[in-house]
Each structure stands twice: as C-alpha cells, then as structure tokens.
Symmetry: C2
Subunit: 285 residues, 2 copies
C-alpha cells in the first residue's frame, strides 16, 4: 500500500483534519512531523502515535527535512505562513493543502511560491461536528471524496502524487476539478447546505421543539453546529459563487411556495416527482 516511497511528511496545523492525515500516514509507516500553534496538540499527537515529532516553533532546520508538506490551516493563515516561511522549505518539495475553497487560494499560492516549489491544491471532503487533534480519526476518509484541483502550472508528477496521496489516505473517490469547478460545486453541495441548516436552526427557539422532533429536522440541522470562524472565512472567500447558489435555492423554494399558495396540485406534484427522481441517483452509490 506504500505508493509514495521514502518521503517524510510535514503536517502544518494539527486540528481534526491535520491530525487525521497524520494518523493515516503514520499508520502506513511514513515518518510524519508537525508544526502547530499549541504544544498540547503536539504532546497529544506524539503520545497517541499520530506523529513521530513536532514543534510549535517554525525553524529552517525542522522544516527543510520534509518532502511533502500538507497545510491544514484556515485559508488566510495558510497564505501568511507561506509568505513568511517558504524559504525554509527545501527545493523540490511538494506542497498541498486541505482548504475548502480553491479559486482564491490556489492561484495566489502558486504565484507567491519560489520556482523550486510546487503547490497542488486538494480538498478532502471529510469532516465531523467536532474539532481538534483529540478527535483525529482516519476512518472519516473511508466513504469520502478527495478532490484534486490542478492548474496549468502543475506538473503531471505533482498531480499524480497528489492523487496517490488521496488513495493511500483511504478516500473512496479521487476526482479532478479546476479550482473554479470546485468552488461552484462546493458552493452548492457544502456551503449552501450549511447556510440552509443554519437558517432553519435559527428560525425558532428550539428547547420546546425537541420533544416533537423526528428524523427530518434532525437530519437537516446536523451540520447547523458549526465552527463560525472557519465557515465564515470560507463563505466570504467564495462569496460570489455562494450567493449565486443561495439565489438559485431561493428561486426554487419560492416556486414551491407559490405553487402551494395557489393550490396548484399538478405543479406541486411535478416538483416532487423531479425531486424523487433526482434523489434516487444517490441511492445507487
């Protein structure tokens, strides 16, 4: 199963996703190091065998030993980190990430890096409603999709290495999209759904509703428990795309609303039949 040979991995940012990457790679036999802000995260990850070593201080001596560097930071901090420390990274190293928005990140990073370094964007579509390295769990990748977002600046080797990384991490599907296609897709499938869940959850005081709540409401609001710092940043970075997906949803929702207001039975049923037909595609996979 060891496809990428003799490489040392550095994880920058030991949270839920960074920690889960570390766990998966260590369990595959790789040497994994980490740079993160809090010493307690390093301590936890070492004690629990997620990493071989790690540090809270970014030094050239530590960073230059790694061949593949995975950034699991919030978008803005990620860009700042590379602006400040890219000189510590050795020539030929491959840089990738886990950021949930691509257009505003990928081109910026590729532009700011020195020519000896290559960045290839990736988005592991996996997560949990809990945070921190203490909740790291490589099994979250098992039924999840991994999207690689190459640009014309990327080499064939880097794209393939990044796809191999997704495979060895255990993702079910590896896909390739342009940064723009990625952002449109994620605006719809992930960001819009979070906006819907959050809006629904804020409609009413919920304490008295708990006793009457069936699975429908629970399912629709599972993702309404949300990390506001991360999601606010992601929403605003993908603002144009997200707003257009939100407007599309408002149109469709109003179409159904107005059909109900008009008691237009045929229209309502037609909408429901389309919905039923389209949802069935998701049962097959």
């Amino acid at each position: 199963m060891k496809i990428i040979n003799d490489v040392k991995f550095l994880i920058v940012g030991l949270g839920l996703i960074g920690g889960s990457y570390a766990q998966a790679l260590t369990d595959l036999g790789y040497e994994v190091g980490a740079v993160t802000r809090s010493q307690s995260s390093i301590d936890y990850a070492k004690e629990n065998g997620l990493i071989a070593h790690g540090t809270t201080e970014v030094t050239k001596e530590y960073v230059e030993q790694f061949d593949i560097i995975i950034f699991a930071l919030y978008p803005k901090v990620f860009v700042e980190w590379l602006q400040k420390y890219q000189s510590y990274i050795k020539d030929g190293a491959l840089i990738t990430d886990v950021t949930g928005v691509k257009g505003p990140i990928v081109y910026k990073i590729q532009e700011l890096l020195r020519p000896e370094l290559e960045f290839i964007g990736a988005h592991p579509m996996a997560g949990k409603e809990v945070y921190g390295v203490q909740n790291a769990d490589k099994t979250i990748f098992r039924n999840a999709n991994y999207i690689v977002t190459p640009t014309e600046k990327n080499t064939k080797q880097a794209i393939e290495a990044c796809e191999q990384l997704g495979k060895i991490l255990g993702f079910k599907t590896i896909a390739r999209l342009s940064p723009e296609e990625h952002d449109e897709m994620i605006g719809f499938l992930s960001q819009l759904t979070h906006c819907i869940a959050v809006s629904l959850m804020t409609c009413k005081e919920s304490e008295k509703l708990v006793d009457y709540t069936g699975d429908s409401f629970r399912d629709l609001t599972r993702i309404a428990k949300i990390n506001e710092d991360m999601w606010c940043e992601l929403f605003l970075m993908n603002k144009k795309e997200l707003l257009s997906q939100m407007d599309l949803f408002i149109d469709k929702f109003k179409e159904l609303r107005d059909s109900i207001q008009d008691s237009d039975t045929e229209k309502i049923k037609e909408i429901m039949r389309t919905s039923t037909k389209r949802r069935k595609y998701f049962d097959k996979k």
Copy 2:
C-alpha cells in the same frame, strides 16, 4: 405489557404505517383485523402474521366486531370512509388515526360522527422513505414521538386509551397538543423540512454531482424522495400554517444571505453561534 384488555383492533388502510401498527399489536397478542383496498395487501399481511384476518369489502358484519378502529388512510379518503360507513361501527367503539394534519381533520370527523362514537386524533411521527405493507416494521416507532390531539369533545377515558395505545406500540415519547399546536409544530418540523429538501434537490441535475457529494447534501435531501400524492394533500390541508413557516424560513435565509453579501463578519458569526447553541439541545436527547 397488555394494558388495553380484551379489545379487537381494526386497521383501515394497510400501508407502511397501518401495517406497522398491525404488526406491533398482533405481536402483543391482540386480535387485529384489516380493511384495505387491495387483496394482495391482505394476503401479504396474513401470510406474514401481521393480521388475523382482513377484507377488501367493507361490511357491517365485519366492521361491527371491533372495539378500537385505527385509520391509516390519506386525509380525504378517511373523511369519506366515515361518512359512508360509520353506521357499521358498533356503539362505544373508539376511533383514532395516524393523519399528519390535525386541524382540518379532527373537528370535521368529530362533527360528522354519531354521538355513540368517539374520535381522538393521534399522529405517530414515524416513517420511512418506502411504502406499502410489505415494508411494515414496528421498530420504526422505537425512537419516535406519538402526539395525541384531544379537543374539548373528548372524554378523559378516550385520551388515556389513546395515550396507552402509543405506549404499547413502543413510542419513545407520548405528547399531548391541541390540533392547532400540532399543525404549527408539524408545519415547521416536518412539512417545512420536506419543502427545503425538495427545493434543494430540484436546484440542479444531480447525476454529475453524485461523485462529489458528502454527507451534508445527502442528509439534507434524504427526505426529498417523497410520496407526491400524500404530501401534496398534507401540504394543502395545512396551507396557511405551512406558508407562514416557509416565509419565516425565507426571512432567516435572506438575513444570512445579505450578511454574506455585505461581508458582515460579526453578523454571520452571530447567526452561526445561535445556530450552534440551539442545535446542542438536540444532542442531549
């Protein structure tokens, strides 16, 4: 566990819910009969031990033997059935139902029944995305809520018997609401959520999206596979309440949309914090 003694149950309408009631009551040792439209449903239910006997023909001889009659029909057919056949039901029998809307049903039924019969409304908040007696499964009640909707016309005995029925069927929570409170609650928790799921599912062609879909979109659209005849009827019967819940949701959704458009970080985060806080109530139960 046998609380209501020496009674014979009649299920009118052997679908998923009627069949699941039949299964639960038969397994508790009660004699359960059924009236339904298709002979194949009767045959299936008999062969699989859900009912002791059943018929597709509504006769006085058959119907008058039962003490508790449970209607698991679509709302309009339910009203028509009682208009046509209530004379077949014996004096003192208790009539209840499983209908998902209460205001437009409960008063109408109580008004049309002769004085020797009592109707008490109930709503088992349980279901599946499949239909028919072949999918009957009494375990769907286990983690579900059962709502009794008495009016001032109901006797204490009937209310208690109806609540006992919910208990012996195995529901987790038994609650009591007025028909109006029920319809407001169900308009929000169940009907609005179905409208959201259906609207989201009809936004885009879904075939090409399947490969990129994570849990969020799947969770939010699980209920988008919908029985259009039943839900269209339920939506229109609860139209006023449903429209007001849909408008409340549109307001909240637009508030979030506009905060994103204005890049109003503080407002977005405040909405998300409220959402997170409210969703936490649902983790406790």
